[in-house]
Symmetry: C2
Subunit: 154 residues, 2 copies
């Protein structure tokens, strides 16, 4: 099935992100694409997460998350965080990171990050949108953002 046959919604453009969180001593991260800015003043970011993802309930309880923005050469990182569940493995084994001010992991190797606290959330269908106020943002070494392409993952 070509992109054109799949419907116009597949032409909506998104980047690729690793959304990380921490609940007590548990850290986890998942790949996500449905991320966008939603407000300039204050700076707010929304992230839509499927309710069956392990990260969903961790984030819902902790109220904190980091948007780690992947570079165009990091499709493998997206697959690492997107194709396995934190219920089964510790995804951070072998991944270099530091803890942000909230304790959530910030990947050492990415384009940039936004550390957020949830100011609003709402269940919509089988997803929840979490809207976060940016507590801190930072850039890494530069480069271009990875753009989501369905065929990279399915």
């Amino acid at each position: 099935m070509t992109l054109k046959e799949k419907g116009a919604r597949w032409y909506i453009t998104n980047g690729v992100y690793v959304i990380t969180t921490r609940l007590d001593e548990k850290i986890n991260g998942m790949a996500a694409a449905w991320v966008t800015r939603v407000c300039e003043d204050p700076v707010l970011i929304s992230v839509a997460i499927w309710e069956k993802n392990y990260t969903h309930n961790l984030l819902k309880q902790s109220g904190i998350f980091v948007v780690n923005i992947l570079r165009e050469d990091q499709t493998k990182v997206a697959i690492h965080f997107g194709k396995q569940s934190g219920r089964d493995i510790n995804k951070f084994t072998g991944i270099s990171f530091r803890e942000g001010k909230t304790g959530a992991p910030i990947l050492d190797d990415c384009l940039g990050y936004l550390e957020c606290e949830v100011v609003f959330s709402r269940k919509l269908g089988d997803h929840t949108i979490f809207v976060g106020k940016v507590l801190e943002e930072g850039n890494k070494k530069g480069g271009r953002a990875l753009i989501y392409k369905h065929s990279d993952y399915f």
Copy 2:
């Protein structure tokens, strides 16, 4: 100021869209970038709109909108719909369109469109996110999506 100096939020990737609506006999459209899918089942799309845009109140009252997805060669269309206000002019003069099932305009020349009815909205800072359920979607002649680049418009 380089992209890197401007902060990580500028690395979040968005496409470029013309959001149209109709309230009674008044039609209008505006350029927007902060658009994303937020749910697969049902198919839901969120659009963040600055509260001072003319389209904001029209859409809030009508509860309907169309996401017209721009092609990579349509920066001028984004400028047309983004740099003038429907308070002052009729933006559709000289623009070819048809009315969707809700009566909102669908641009004849674009990559694809999603006609939506608002199922949820929420004011967040100086923007409102409108979440729409897709009533109908369609593709045009193919091509690639226009990706938002700040320097194209400022």
